[in-house]
């Protein structure tokens, strides 16, 4: 428990991803089974302990501390676990249990005896250890570690590729004994069922219109629309139905309407979209359903989820990934025909004869239907995880550009913490400037230094870490699309905004107006 508490403190206090990975890898190296696996599950929040609620923690502390003093302290600290950890009055010396024993105590102790057990543990611990135990008990372990980061640390620890971890991750069970045995080089890689686990995705590269098309032959490629949703993998058989994001996060529970519809056994690759009768709505409608803990009934009705399927990785347990795309496509088409489903539709192929013709189709599709672009897939390509060069291309529609005025700057994180590197910019609305977005990349280190200097020299007001600057510097901002957003003062939200160029030369008066922005806005008619 001591080492685990130390790890949590290190994780919460560092903002650097690489350092978090190092701290985790070090912990895996020095901690025995099953403690390290249980700790891993606690950190990725896959561990659920029954019985113990935060009310027990609170009750217990109130038996020892004056309620008014506790209330004033809680009010000041703002976090129940931390308040209790710090305010706990007694300490006795003794050994803390291991993570395994700690969990076993909590699981096996009859409910009536839990409070006594809890206070015994608190008495033995330092404030930091108390904090770690309370966080584990109440399940509020927010230490800035995503599942992906934990997997990256595992890969580093075992000196294997992240992909290999992702491939088996969802077939593993807590406390991951087989995983660690493999990472320690003691056994082979754990075997898992293909229709129950996530498989790393094959990704595409952007096409370079000038260089690439000269070399590429039209006849070798198939074209599809690039759908504006999120990439998902459907993994299902008779027993389990799951949907994963491109990074391998299980998002099944956020979209029960979709996962419940799945029948048969396969692993499919496609784009998650929302809309009635499988007619896609703009991305911000989908966004309303993402990252939600609870499901809103109205959303299920107004924004039903569906998937445009474009590839098949497994048909039952049969691995199709080594087949050429063309054959996989044929298998996919016949699979779709034999499995009727109102939530799955085939991503259609776009017939074309020349790149020139396809370019026109792409432009028309962007203008009339708001398509993000076109995907090009080499007909002979096998399904190769990662981002291999050559087999798949994305041909995005041109980025939109807008000249906006810098309004606020905020300090960055990690290496950039002494630089003003996060910029909020806006456009003219009458005589004032209203914010339309925020960007923190697209410039070189050299430019960042210049911008930092400019911000410091042109500050007119400070709000904590934020500086308001003179409305004089113009950014050429590139973005993929603009949407209606009632949450922003300007009523507009941009997707993927980045600084394209810094227009040191351009007077702020010549920046874009809010009216001018309306031209870019999609989904206007949508309520």
């Amino acid at each position: 428990m001591k080492a685990f508490a130390e790890l949590l403190e290190q994780l919460i206090l560092t903002s650097s991803r690489n350092k978090k990975v190092d701290y985790l890898a070090q912990y895996f190296a020095k901690t025995p089974d099953p403690d390290r696996g249980l700790a891993l599950a606690a950190i990725t929040r896959d561990l659920s302990l029954r019985h113990v609620k935060s009310s027990l923690v609170k009750q217990n502390v109130l038996e020892r501390v004056d309620p008014k003093l506790f209330a004033l302290s809680y009010d000041y600290v703002g976090d129940l676990g931390e308040t209790v950890a710090l305010i706990w009055p007694e300490t006795v010396s003794g050994e803390l249990p291991s993570v395994k024993d700690f969990i076993a105590f909590l699981e096996d102790t009859p409910k009536a005896e839990l409070p006594a057990l809890f206070s015994d543990l608190m008495d033995l611990a330092t404030p930091n250890e108390r904090w770690a135990m309370i966080k584990m008990i109440t399940g509020g372990l927010r230490v800035g570690v995503s599942a992906r980061l934990a997997k990256t640390a595992l890969a580093k620890y075992g000196n294997v590729e992240l992909q290999e971890i992702e491939e088996i991750w969802h077939g593993l069970t807590i406390p991951y004994l087989k995983l660690f045995a493999w990472l320690d080089g003691k056994t082979d890689k754990p075997q898992i069922k293909h229709t129950e686990t996530f498989h790393p995705l094959m990704l595409s590269n952007p096409v370079d219109e000038i260089k690439d098309f000269e070399k590429l032959s039209e006849a070798d490629f198939a074209a599809e629309w690039k759908w504006d949703g999120i990439r998902v993998q459907l993994v299902f058989n008779e027993d389990t139905q799951r949907m994963f994001s491109r990074t391998g996060d299980d998002i099944s529970h956020t979209f029960p309407d979709l996962t419940e519809s799945l029948n048969g056994a396969a692993v499919l690759d496609g784009e998650l979209l929302v809309g009635k009768d499988m007619e896609p709505l703009p991305f911000n409608n989908l966004q309303q359903r993402l990252n939600r803990k609870t499901i809103v009934k109205k959303h299920l009705k107004d924004y039903p989820a569906f998937v445009r399927v474009y590839d098949i990785l497994f048909d039952g347990e049969e691995d199709l990934r080594t087949l050429p795309w063309q054959e996989r496509r044929a298998r996919l088409e016949s699979w779709m025909e034999s499995h009727d489903n109102k939530r799955l539709s085939l991503s259609e192929l776009i017939p074309f004869k020349s790149w020139e013709e396809l370019k026109k189709i792409r432009e028309k599709g962007a203008e009339e239907q708001g398509h993000e672009g076109i995907m090009l897939k080499r007909k002979t390509s096998v399904y190769e995880p990662g981002r291999p060069k050559g087999p798949w291309y994305k041909w995005k529609r041109d980025a939109r550009l807008v000249d906006a005025v810098l309004m606020y700057a905020q300090r960055g994180h990690g290496k950039r913490s002494s630089f003003y590197s996060d910029y909020t910019f806006g456009v003219w609305k009458g005589n004032e400037i209203v914010p339309i977005g925020k960007a923190y990349f697209g410039f070189t280190d050299q430019e960042l230094k210049q911008l930092d200097k400019w911000v410091r020299a042109n500050t007119i007001q400070r709000f904590g870490p934020v500086r308001e600057v003179k409305k004089e510097l113009v950014f050429e901002v590139a973005f993929d699309s603009a949407h209606v957003s009632p949450r922003h003062k300007s009523g507009i939200a941009l997707r993927f905004p980045r600084i394209n160029r810094i227009r040191w030369d351009k007077p702020a008066q010549e920046a874009e107006t809010l009216d001018g922005m309306q031209f870019f806005v999609e989904g206007q008619s949508d309520s």
């Binding site: 004056d66 003093l69 004033l72 931390e82 308040t83 710090l86 305010i87 009055p89 404030p127 002494s418």
Partner: protein, 309 residues
């Protein structure tokens, strides 16, 4: 705070010592510190009063007693017809080898500070905090260790504590600390070799310890160090979320103020029946005093910011 005809100054921190008074009474060290910070002429006249020496002003007898806060810091005892009132200024009761140890002064009225007047503040042993720093340094020898500590008292104490753990490499200090570190050294507090980081290259700082004022941690000044571990020596570092929000990777809970246990123990030790609480979280300490049968009132001072280190 308005300038006054006569000011008794407990110690040299900016929220307790201001320039412009006519006549200043303080300990010799505090007078020296004030002069170095604000200039020789920051008051019209100075009167040095050693600890424990009584001075009569009309019917009131004044004396100064060690407060254990920073070099020269004092509590003020006022006696009038046998009635004794103590104003603590800032204080701490735990040992600190950079200043005279705190002295319990028996009294009837005790006016106490309450910067850390909540039971969540139970400061750990300072030496253990320094051990944490030195351990981190061994584990990450390629990084610089940048410690934020305010210029009067905390910086010197942190350096002294590091020396007491046997660390004898040069310690680098920000220019803002120079004057006061020199003064501490003159007063016989050995801080070892101190250097300025100016003019050195990034590569010169791998594994080195650098001390600067908190404001410098996030400033351009910090860019010269290689991937620095930002540490901050303060009682506030008890609260993790707070350390995290201020970008502190290595919080060092080292405080020059009394923690909750020191506050409550000291209150009892003075034997005072009346307690006035000021300078911080008055509510909790007033509530505590009343709960043990003492008469207690919050005393809100003018011109006080909520938080200092």
């Amino acid at each position: 705070m308005k300038p006054s005809r006569l000011a008794i100054i407990t110690h040299g921190h900016a929220d307790h010592a201001r320039p412009g008074h006519d006549h200043v009474i303080a300990t010799p060290d505090t007078i020296e510190i004030i002069k170095r910070r604000y200039g020789e002429n920051c008051a019209k006249t100075f009167e040095a009063l050693e600890y424990g020496v009584e001075k009569k002003i009309k019917d009131v007898t004044i004396s100064l007693h060690p407060a254990g806060h920073v070099l020269g810091s004092a509590q003020v005892l006022l006696q009038y017809q046998g009635y004794r009132a103590v104003m603590t200024g800032d204080y701490k009761a735990r040992p600190d080898s950079t200043c005279a140890p705190f002295e319990v002064v028996p009294c009837d009225l005790f006016v106490t500070e309450a910067t850390f007047g909540l039971p969540v503040f139970q400061h750990p042993d300072s030496a253990d905090e320094i051990k944490k720093l030195l351990k981190a340094r061994e584990e990450q020898p390629e990084r610089a260790f940048l410690i934020g500590a305010y210029a009067l008292g905390k910086a010197q104490r942190v350096i002294k504590l590091i020396r007491e753990e046997g660390y004898d490499r040069p310690i680098y200090i920000h220019g803002a600390l120079k004057k006061l570190c020199e003064f501490y050294q003159e007063r016989g507090i050995n801080l070892g070799e101190l250097r300025s980081p100016t003019g050195l290259k990034k590569d010169d700082f791998h594994g080195e310890i650098v001390v600067g004022p908190p404001s410098a941690l996030k400033d351009q000044w910090s860019r010269r160090f290689p991937d620095p571990v930002v540490a901050y020596a303060s009682g506030w570092m008890t609260i993790k979320q707070r350390a995290r929000q201020s970008g502190v990777e290595l919080p060092l809970v080292i405080s020059d103020h009394a923690d909750w246990n020191e506050l409550t123990e000291t209150i009892k030790a003075t034997g005072a029946s009346k307690i006035w609480v000021t300078h911080g979280r008055e509510d909790a300490l007033v509530h505590y005093c009343r709960s043990i049968g003492l008469e207690a009132e919050p005393l809100y001072l003018q011109g006080r910011d909520d938080e200092e280190d």
